[in-house]
């Protein structure tokens, strides 16, 4: 190690560290993890700009308004961060099972069930102290969402049902349950045009971080992401999960309880998305209705893939994609673009990010061989 470092310093002649082969050998892989998704993002933005140019708008205007609507002012920053909060949590719903080699794309369903459970808890506890109601909402939301994804995990483990398809089917089932409940048994008779449940009450809302309009959900998201990172990379449990994700037979041979791992990880994943649903109810909507199916669960999948399933990387990526969706309103007003333009850009980014997987380990100058 020391000789290698000494050699490399000698070879590089003490110039900038990027030209130092030892540096590249050590950090080349890490640089790739930033450089390649970054390049994919730039490529996707370029293609989207071309698409918008075909639509008859100036791509430079597009980039300006996207930047301005996402990060240009304090107001847009707050909008961005508010949207990033549920994205961090729904992204964890895909990223945690990914450690086990599972592709779960049902975060939207867990979010809806979490929101329903949290709302039910709040309505059942009317009159209790706000802090009690809020804690009950967090617990109910996490358990509801957790069980929803555990269903997918259990079906995979005990019945061999593909978890990608089952989790997506569960999204549609969750949406049907939500629509059924808000238009039937849980409907507030006063909600005429938009069927909704009764409100959880202003006192039970979780409110904003002091000095901002960003609600406390962002802190929930940050804590969850850091906790997930520690769980995966610094605990025996996370190590076991990654072993099972790498080679399931090896994991069974060394005696890991793979079934238990799958169920636990799926529960944690679902409870994270369920928490996102609870936050949307307790910080934004104040009640449950069809507005909750805003696609945070689906964008979360993209966030997880763009962050390469790393819980810490999810935080900046969620802010970036939160920014893109925050700029959607401005694109609509100033450029007259349809509201679906954000979806198009997300789709293009997704394709580019996946295609860029082919580049890892192939960029000559990052291999550290001089």
């Amino acid at each position: 190690m020391t000789t290698e470092a000494a050699e490399s310093v000698e070879a590089a002649g003490g110039v900038a560290p990027a030209a130092d082969p030892g540096f590249l050998q050590r950090y080349g892989a890490s640089i790739e993890y930033i450089l390649i998704p970054g390049a994919a993002l730039v490529g996707a933005l370029a293609v989207f700009g071309g698409f918008i140019a075909l639509y008859g708008k100036n791509p430079l205007d597009l980039y300006f308004y996207m930047y301005y609507g996402a990060f240009g002012t304090w107001f847009s920053w707050q909008n961005t961060l508010t949207r990033a909060a549920p994205l961090i949590l729904t992204a964890l719903c895909t990223a945690l099972p990914a450690q086990l080699g599972m592709v779960i794309i049902g975060g939207e369903g867990a979010l809806l069930i979490g929101a329903l459970s949290a709302t039910s808890a709040a309505l059942a506890l009317q009159g209790a102290a706000p802090i009690v109601v809020q804690i009950a909402m967090v617990i109910a939301g996490m358990i509801g969402g957790g069980l929803w994804i555990t269903l997918s995990g259990g079906l995979r483990q005990y019945r061999g049902v593909n978890e990608t398809i089952s989790s997506l089917l569960l999204v549609y089932i969750a949406l049907a349950i939500l629509n059924h409940l808000v238009e039937g048994p849980m409907r507030d008779p006063a909600s005429l045009n938009k069927p909704s449940t009764r409100e959880i009450g202003a006192a039970n809302m979780i409110g904003s971080i002091p000095g901002t309009d960003v609600h406390w959900g962002l802190v929930f998201g940050l804590v969850a992401a850091v906790a997930a990172y520690i769980l995966i990379y610094h605990t025996t449990f996370g190590f076991a999960a990654r072993v099972a994700g790498g080679n399931i037979r090896a994991a069974k041979i060394v005696g890991l309880g793979v079934g238990k791992l799958i169920l636990t990880v799926c529960f944690l994943a679902g409870s994270s998305a369920g928490l996102a649903g609870m936050i949307e109810v307790a910080a934004v909507q104040g009640r449950t209705n069809a507005n909750l199916a805003a696609g945070y669960g689906f964008t979360g999948i993209l966030v997880a893939f763009l962050a390469r399933q790393n819980p810490l990387a999810i935080i900046p990526v969620a802010i970036l994609l939160g920014g893109i969706s925050a700029s959607g309103g401005l694109l609509q007003r100033r450029l007259g673009l349809p509201d679906a333009s954000v979806l198009v850009l997300q789709g293009i980014i997704f394709v580019f990010v996946l295609a860029s997987d082919a580049l890892y380990g192939r960029i000559g100058f990052l291999k550290g061989k001089s």
Binding site: G160, N162, T164, L169, I173, L175, G184, F298, V353, A358
Partner: protein, 308 residues
């Protein structure tokens, strides 16, 4: 008068009619996916292809006045999406399931974007053949107004069954799906076979989408498809990659999906949303019954990542 005499028979009749009407998109998507999966790749993006197909069919039919031109446009759009899927998947270390998810998002986003101006206007719709001329009961006549696309789909299923078994083309696809090495040893490009299979699959899925916007429900809006594409992909799995079973499964699904509207027509409205979720619940239930953790599914192409 006829209405009163039918009584409760309205429901099974509406389910029957619905099975034929609603099953067509399921049928086309599942047959298309069947071809793609037999070649060893899974395309989850057919949900997006379906919506893109619906939008482009409606747009072209509106602009040209010819619904059949719309169907063709939907097929071509689907084939292009298939080519995109196959193209990205042919890069090293790219996961086909993930690409499918990406194309699902891209397809729906693009369709909503480009389809924005199409929500208002009315496009020329596909004609139906009246097989119920012999009856004077309006419900029977309604149930037997059958679209030509359904008949084409029904014809494709046995054709595909035959083609997989006996033609050179079918054998090549199955070889690529069972053992990429064997196909390579025979001097064929696996990537090329899969590209073609995915494009044909996308073509069929696009046509399935055109049925949605041009016949039933017969208009373009953003809520047109809610998971029919992904349900059809699941349907291929428990149809055991057999085109004929895809046909029967699609009919069963169409019936399940028609249950909600049928019950609503006789005044049962309370569990409307739950009945509408019937196809998804049915899919899950059948997958739970037919899958097993201990063995791979019989008939599964060995190269398919979803069954490994």
């Amino acid at each position: 008068m006829a209405d009163a005499s039918l009584g409760l028979w309205t429901v099974p009749l509406a389910v029957f009619g619905g099975a034929i009407r609603v099953s067509t998109p399921f049928l086309f998507v599942s047959l298309g996916e069947c071809i793609t999966e037999r070649s060893g790749r899974i395309n989850l993006g057919l949900e997006g292809t379906l919506v893109m197909g619906a939008m482009s069919a409606y747009g072209i039919s509106y602009l040209s006045g010819s619904p059949w031109l719309g169907v063709l446009a939907a097929g071509i759009t689907g084939a292009l999406f298939g080519a995109l899927h196959a193209g990205v998947c042919s890069l090293p270390r790219v996961n086909d399931i993930a690409v499918g998810i990406a194309l699902m998002l891209l397809g729906t986003g693009l369709a909503f974007f480009l389809g924005k101006p199409l929500i208002e206007p009315t496009a020329a719709r596909l004609p139906a053949i009246d097989f119920g001329w012999w009856s004077d009961v309006p419900q029977v006549r309604a149930a037997l107004r059958i679209n030509v696309l359904f008949l084409i789909g029904v014809a494709i299923a046995p054709l595909l069954y035959w083609a997989f078994r006996t033609t050179r083309w079918g054998l090549l696809i199955r070889t690529a799906g069972e053992s990429a090495d064997a196909a390579r040893a025979m001097g064929h490009s696996v990537l090329l076979i899969r590209l073609r299979a995915t494009m044909v699959g996308g073509f069929l899925a696009g046509i399935g989408g055109s049925f949605l916007s041009l016949f039933y429900p017969g208009s373009w809006n953003e809520g047109l498809s809610s998971g029919q594409g992904i349900t059809a992909v699941a349907l291929v799995i428990f149809a055991r990659w057999d085109p004929m079973l895809c046909l029967w499964a699609s009919l069963a699904f169409g019936g399940a999906a028609a249950l909600g509207p049928a019950l609503q027509s006789v005044g049962v409205t309370s569990g409307y949303h739950l009945f509408n979720a019937a196809p998804y619940i049915l899919t899950l239930a059948i997958m739970i019954i037919t899958c097993s953790p201990k063995r791979t599914l019989t008939g599964a192409p060995a190269e398919l990542s979803i069954t490994r």
